[in-house]
């Protein structure tokens, strides 16, 4: 069971979030900064609920396009921008379930919402840590666990021995564990 931090602590993890939003509202080309900041969280939130990479990518794309088109309507009232994005995501997921009539309809309930948002933020942190790994470890970790490739396939793709790949996956995960602080179990 994951140990959870209270959501409030994660509300303003970007101290200049408001400035970034206002900058993007004045100049849409600055939307890229918001994208960088929130992409992982939104994707993690969606993929946890739809459990399919293709659907998660479509929905993530929908969320950011909608956010870009409606950015001028976002009003800063102290609520985090992420909450606005999660709300767009929840609606997009609900729309999709309605369309796919045979799938179970996901009713966004506030209790579940909060837990999901926190979980998404935790996952997003791990994704960011992966990108900061030394290059060889990062490539192995991404291919092995994100892309679900076998040791043999990764060894072949990178031109390394299977032993070297096992060592890199170990060191990569060890590095992540040190960064996360063992909170994932």
């Amino acid at each position: 069971m994951a140990r959870r931090r209270p959501l409030r602590q994660s509300v303003s993890d970007a101290p200049d979030e408001r400035l970034l939003i206002e900058a993007a509202q004045r100049d849409l080309s600055r939307f890229a900064d918001l994208y960088e900041l929130y992409f992982d969280r939104v994707y993690a939130y969606i993929v946890r609920r739809v459990q399919d990479r293709g659907d998660a990518e479509d929905l993530t794309s929908t969320v950011f396009h909608h956010a870009l088109a409606n950015l001028s309507r976002f009003e800063w009232r102290g609520a985090p921008f992420a909450a606005w994005l999660y709300r767009i995501a929840a609606n997009a997921i609900a729309d999709r379930s309605t369309r796919l009539a045979r799938e179970r309809k996901i009713e966004p309930a506030s209790g579940i919402e909060e837990a999901d948002q926190e979980e998404a933020q935790d996952q997003a942190r791990v994704f960011a840590f992966v990108r900061e790994l030394p290059d060889d470890q990062r490539r192995v970790v991404v291919m092995r666990f994100a892309e679900q490739k076998s040791i043999r396939d990764v060894a072949e793709a990178l031109g390394r021995s299977e032993g070297a790949i096992k060592q890199l996956q170990f060191r990569g995960l060890e590095n992540l564990r040190a960064r996360i602080g063992g909170k994932n179990v």
């Binding site: 849409l28 890229a32 994707y43 970790v141 994100a146 170990f170």
Partner: protein, 317 residues
């Protein structure tokens, strides 16, 4: 446990072939690995970012660029603007969008539509003396346009010929002294991808320095840079400034520097003005709201070109 044993234990646990229950550390590593199944694909993350950037630019462009304009528009400051307007109409089928005369009959400001582009011009004065320019003009029929230009009063600077770089082109000097490189791309499209009917063309001394400035000052991107020989001077470069490609080639022979004026629409005049100065431009005028509904500023780049940085002022809704 040695690192080798740890590595093997992790591998076995990941593969589900553990002989004995894994220790706590290994279980933590396996849990982290499982969480990474949900990691987004890097190429998806990058592509979506690019898509959004394109959409953002297209949406933003609607708001800060006047209708019909692109990011960069050549501004020809000449002696004899009225004659030039007539020449553009006769030679290149230009349409007159706007003409603002001064009391003495000279033209303060005019806008001509040429193909898919707008060209601005005006009579020079004490503050802005005439600065003829080089324009790369794409037309459907180079030979016909070349002939019409000569009939309208231009002088030839080069007969139309097929060029090894994929176009037929010739050149004329118009009555006001501007050089027009008239060209038609071979193939079904007479304008190469990314270019327009009218394309500003620079012949600076120090093309590398100008490109560096455009990148640092205006956030420009290199579309193509060709040197001859491979480590020699730049013979041709295409640089994207906003949504517009400007072309340039190092000054040589008859192609000597003719720095000219350009109107450059941006979302945030003050920010671009500041960055341009940091990148080595000299100020002509600090950002100020203009009575004609724009906020604008002026700078001179290291090659001597004058850039009038502007944005449409937001109208009250």
């Amino acid at each position: 446990m040695s690192e080798r044993e740890n590595i093997e234990q992790l591998h076995n646990a990941l593969e589900g072939v553990a002989a004995a229950p894994a220790d706590l550390r290994t279980r933590e590593l396996v849990a982290i690995a499982r969480g990474l199944r949900n990691m987004p694909r890097e190429d998806f993350r990058t592509k979506l970012k690019a898509d959004l950037k394109e959409k953002a630019m297209a949406t933003a462009a609607v708001n800060f660029i006047p209708k019909g304009f692109h990011s960069v528009t050549p501004y020809l400051v000449v002696q004899g603007a009225s004659q030039l307007i007539e020449f553009l109409k006769q030679a290149f089928g230009a349409e007159e969008n706007l003409r603002v005369p001064r009391p003495d009959g000279t033209i303060m400001h005019a806008q001509m539509k040429v193909g898919d582009s707008i060209l601005e011009l005006g009579d020079g004065g004490e503050q802005y003396p005439p600065r003829p320019a080089n324009i790369h003009l794409y037309v459907e029929d180079t030979d016909a346009a070349y002939e019409r230009a000569l009939q309208a009063g231009a002088t030839s600077i080069g007969q139309p010929e097929d060029r090894p770089y994929g176009e037929r082109s010739g050149g004329v000097k118009d009555p006001a002294g501007n050089n027009w490189y008239i060209a038609t791309q071979f193939g079904p499209q007479h304008i190469p991808e990314g270019l327009r009917t009218i394309n500003p063309y620079f012949h600076p001394q120090g093309t590398d320095k100008l490109i560096e400035f455009l990148k640092n000052g205006f956030g420009a991107e290199e579309v193509g840079v060709y040197r001859e020989p491979a480590d020699g001077p730049i013979v041709h470069a295409k640089i994207r400034v906003g949504d517009t490609i400007v072309e340039m080639g190092e000054a040589h022979g008859p192609y000597q520097p003719m720095p000219f004026g350009l109107h450059y629409y941006v979302p945030d005049v003050d920010a671009v003005y500041r960055k341009a100065l940091e990148a080595g431009a000299k100020s002509i005028s600090a950002p100020a709201d203009q009575p004609y509904g724009e906020r604008s500023a002026g700078v001179i780049d290291p090659a001597g070109n004058q850039w009038f940085i502007a944005t449409l002022l937001r109208m009250r809704e």
